[in-house]
Symmetry: C2
Subunit: 463 residues, 2 copies
């Protein structure tokens, strides 16, 4: 008989009542009495799993089942019986229990509280705990929701390249990609590395952003998005930094900063609303065990219109605040965490801060008419600070060239980027959303290492 | 007025007839007479674009429009008028034409035939040609279809890591990932590289496959899939090899090779069927201009049940063939292209070849009871040869260890992979589909460089 997933059993509980069903999964917990026993079985399709009841008089391998270790894989045939419990609306009364793959007494994941650090060291088994079943289920649901959001709105997905020879964006430290023999790196006469002998015939590295390539495609398909891995080689050991993470970068042509913010706001609301609906069991679990008040926080984001204020206005608000900041708010500076926190609590809503001083922002952001600020936006959200960074891009060839020169970016490296401004240039805009940080936000999980299946951080590259 | 995409105009043609609409896009072609002119405008949302008609008496900048260069960006207001033409069911009679971004006489993409090589060198502009509009539209549709196929069947998406420290799979040449200073690589006393000083504290490289990590997740979530970039540093200059390409790797627990083939068959049929339906205009275009007979080839795959034969049986067929092969078919060997071609034409259908000699297959494939073959499968398809490679995985700890020892793979590198066989091991299986090759198959485009937005190959890493 073909096995049902536990999710399918839940969805078809009424039709399957009193029916014989097959279910497969791994033992999360087990309690045996003399004449009967209970097993919590989980196959990852449903956070709460299913309870198996087996009796000495019914199954012919009672003693073997009673002794089986946590973690073992089972195939169970039995009858679906509804129960009066809310938490567990049905159970399976087993007729046969096959031990497909036994486990051992030293199985690391026991039904008790393990430290997050211990679970990271056992990342090959941690997905079999409630916390990580929930986290990675939400990760998958959110992944699909992102594609759905953009595709339903006729955005084209662009696979931006992972290996690039351009380091023009300067968004962070780069990982080098090479096939040179590191024991004997070929050198030029001046002792510099001879990259002509390398795989690509030049210096190559892992991308820090797909934006510039997304801009290329936006100038042909109007509305596009990337969704793929990006990299930073910063030796940062904080809870919010990983060396490898996924980014979503939409780019829209014939559009200004307001249209960009409209898109960001509707995307954030759609993603959170989808998770609240499609992962309600998981979100309830996080609210209860990981981050009290999570549901309220998320619903607030879905329901409240996002505030839009300029950086100048935001600094005015901070300066007028009846609060002593460690860092003095400044019209020329980026915000500190405490400032972001104050602003979102001041408005009790997500806040777009726009029109930033040009000197602290990237070369490609569109210069405003004041000559001092650029058409950039950061989205600050309650409980996390910056979630999204975006901008209208400089579409005027002469202004872009001036900005590149001022910031020391050689034109020949970005000849194709300049070409886009020569042939059918359009006002266009885009933003970047860090997928893993979004996942931290919707789950309440506080360490990025715990939302990535196999995280990469300085000195950590296991599995 | 908010602009419609050209796709939306087509979809709402009846409701919008005789209505005033706004449309934005880039000029693909332009012909001006004395008193009126025609412009082919395209915004990437629809392969065929839309025709703009403008008249001297109606628009106030007739001369400027008549002189505007190919590639310029326009915003057009006008009335949607139905035409008797099948090819072009409506046109826009312009009331205003705004030149948003001009172009120049030296715009590289002129309305004539350009060589593929020339277009690759101008990959930042080639998406504005019919061929590449079609290719990248299909790429995006296929991307979404892959997620939909798996998510609708309750498969969990797993983001397998891109940077890995394991090179155990041995699937190909590796790109090294490092932050070491290449002008002065730190060395140990024995002159080998001191990777303890590197970013991850050990040797790291770009992944060749997410399979082993997908297996981890399949042992918790039962049905999972990866869809992400993978890498090979082979100095291969063929039309089917790229250094960076995307792979789809499903992995299913409590499953054998037959279930694996069922999944592969239904996935391939679903993907091709989706493209035939959702990209019918593009596929007709490819059939006409790129690969005659494409639609027939694709429909054949959707409609025919896939054949399943063992490798031994396949060699029997080859040996009995009334055809002289350059390479003699052998029971111990892989197939040559000519063998694959013969087999699919012999059956006039896609063919799964199963149960391969163990010595030419990977260590993780499940050993059959004969001790000589493994439970592997290759899917051969008419017009392309191998499309998918998969296998049941060795779930028995002792057999796996013997195979690893025989193939010189150190156990300590894959301790976590062995753990999976110690704690709740299950029969499980999976396969890999190269996304870009699938895209070549459904478009008929013969060079992998022409289905990847910005391809990476030896000595090529532009944009």
């Amino acid at each position: 008989m073909k096995a049902y997933t536990i999710k399918a059993l839940h969805e078809n509980m009424d039709a399957l009542e009193q029916q014989e069903v097959t279910v497969e999964g791994w033992i999360r917990n087990s309690r045996a009495q003399k004449a009967f026993g209970f097993i919590d079985l989980n196959d990852g399709s449903k956070l709460s799993g299913v309870q198996i009841v087996y009796e000495k008089d019914t199954v012919d391998n009672f003693d073997a089942i009673a002794k089986v270790h946590i973690g073992a894989a089972l195939r169970v045939n039995g009858t679906l019986i509804k129960t009066p419990s809310m938490k567990q609306p049905f159970e399976i009364k087993a007729s046969t229990v096959e031990i497909v793959g036994p486990s051992r007494a030293d199985y690391p994941i026991q039904p008790k509280r393990h430290s997050r650090e211990f679970l990271r060291e056992n990342a090959h088994l941690r997905a079999r705990t409630n916390l990580f079943t929930a986290v990675f289920r939400v990760r998958s649901i959110l992944t699909h929701a992102i594609h759905r959001f953009f595709q339903e709105r006729d955005f084209m997905h662009v696979a931006s390249p992972i290996i690039t020879a351009s380091d023009a964006e300067g968004a962070g430290e780069l990982f080098k990609v090479t096939t040179l023999d590191l024991t004997e790196v070929p050198k030029d006469k001046d002792k510099t590395v001879d990259f002509r002998k390398d795989f690509f015939g030049k210096k190559a590295n892992l991308t820090v952003s797909g934006q510039l390539q997304a801009e290329i495609f936006a100038q042909a398909f109007k509305n596009v998005y990337t969704f793929g891995p990006t990299f930073r080689a910063e030796k940062s050991h904080t809870a919010t930094h990983a060396s490898e993470f996924w980014m979503i970068e939409p780019e829209i042509a014939f559009a200004d900063l307001n249209t960009d913010m409209d898109l960001a706001e509707s995307m954030v609301k759609y993603l959170i609303d989808t998770v609240l609906k499609e992962a309600s069991e998981e979100i309830q679990f996080f609210d209860r065990f990981v981050s009290k008040g999570l549901v309220k926080k998320l619903k607030n984001v879905v329901e409240k219109p996002f505030v839009r204020i300029t950086h100048k206005k935001a600094v005015d608000i901070l300066k007028a605040a009846k609060q002593d900041f460690e860092n003095t708010p400044d019209y020329q500076d980026d915000f500190a965490k405490e400032h972001e926190k104050y602003l979102v609590s001041h408005f009790d809503a997500p806040v777009f801060v726009t029109d930033w001083p040009k000197d602290i922002k990237a070369f490609y952001m569109r210069l405003n008419d004041d000559g001092q600020t650029v058409a950039a936006m950061d989205l600050l959200v309650p409980g996390a600070g910056e979630m999204i960074g975006g901008s209208q891009r400089e579409e005027r060839l002469d202004v872009l060239k001036q900005r590149m020169e001022a910031m020391g970016i050689p034109e020949e490296e970005l000849w194709w980027y300049l070409d886009l401004r020569m042939y059918g240039s359009t006002p266009h805009a885009g933003f970047g959303l860090g997928f893993d940080r979004m996942l931290m936000y919707v789950t309440g999980v506080e360490n990025i290492r715990d939302v990535i299946p196999f995280p990469r951080t300085p000195k950590q590259c296991e599995f």
